[in-house]
Symmetry: C2
Subunit: 210 residues, 2 copies
């Protein structure tokens, strides 16, 4: 018996992503899709950016996790509206999840919307959500070889953040090797070293997002 394989799954995701993009643009909502390994500091970075921006900018956050609502709780505690998506096993967010979430949140025009993807350096790279910018976070404690091992993620990023730079003094992290790995894949994206602990360069990063 012949087995037919579903080959157009990405097209379906892309189609809804385009609808999301149109909806966001029509409502002047700016969307940043944040991706990284587990524990690189996605939530911490959103909290630091929110601290800086929330006075002058309407913010909202969509949190993606397989399980739990830990991250959304942290965001709401800071006075920023947040919705938690539990993927229930899926290793990434897709455009339909974002479409549902955005409708549910009733976002005001002129909102800056952060989407925190599921912690994973692989699968989220393949799914357009309708965002304006993709931001990939690597962290010093993960080591300097991540661009070499997870090329797709770094290849498509619009902004690359190196978090936990306060650990550079003690870590065996070769910053030049990291940057060389990024630049072999991506000649355009700014690479910004930040520390969510000390606040270093958070302002500079915020300017790239707005």
């Amino acid at each position: 018996m012949e087995i037919k394989v579903l080959t157009n799954i990405m097209d379906a995701n892309d189609r809804v992503a385009q609808e999301n993009r149109k909806y966001f643009r029509d409502n002047n909502i700016r969307v940043v899709n944040i991706m990284s390994s587990p524990g690189s500091g996605k939530t911490s970075l959103i909290l630091k950016l929110a601290e800086l921006l929330k006075k002058d900018t309407q913010l909202a956050v969509i949190e993606g996790d397989i399980a739990s609502s830990i991250d959304a709780e942290k965001i709401i505690k800071q006075g920023v509206p947040a919705l938690q998506i539990n993927t229930g096993g899926a290793c990434h967010l897709d455009s339909s999840m974002i479409s549902d979430a955005a409708k549910n949140m009733d976002l005001a025009p002129n909102t800056l919307l952060f989407i925190e993807n599921v912690g994973n350096l692989v699968c989220p790279a393949s799914f357009d959500l309708g965002e304006d910018l993709t931001m990939v976070i690597a962290s010093v404690s993960e080591g300097d070889d991540k661009p070499y091992k997870y090329p797709k993620m770094f290849e498509k990023a619009d902004i690359i953040v190196l978090n936990k730079v306060d650990l550079l003094v003690n870590a065996t992290f070769d910053r030049e090797f990291f940057i060389k790995g990024v630049r072999a894949l991506n000649s355009k994206a700014p690479i910004v070293g930040v520390s969510c602990r000390t606040g270093q360069n958070i302002k500079e990063l915020a300017k790239l997002i707005l």
Copy 2:
């Protein structure tokens, strides 16, 4: 037109995993499948264990990465035979890749074989490779909430390693919260705090693997 969906993909993986398991047992090869986020210290831990064990035990390593051979090179430099699998995009190893790799390596009887999976806390949890033990590594720098966010990985682990415990003094890591999260999912697996930097508890961990 009706679209048929391939629903038995896991069965195919499980079938080859069983073949691998039989082959490994027949040849007295003990196999540990090591999984974690990118940068939690899979390679570093293998290198520390190899340093300790290679005098008395025949070792071999299968390295899994989407791209690059950085990890296999590190292992070979320590005098341990290693083979690098490049998945070319796939977010996990599967049992067929291990079957091919094991045949290629011509493993001696009585070998202790480490398989380093692709850095990913999600997808590898769903793919039996035919291993004897699964070992999941979390690290202090990733934060204490990983068991809550990636339950499947911690639920099925035989050994849970908490790496980078030398960072506990400076990190905001609640060890009790981490352990509580693990124990809600997994009542059996030993939880071993180690540091690949200082060598703390590497011997204790080795005893659990042999």
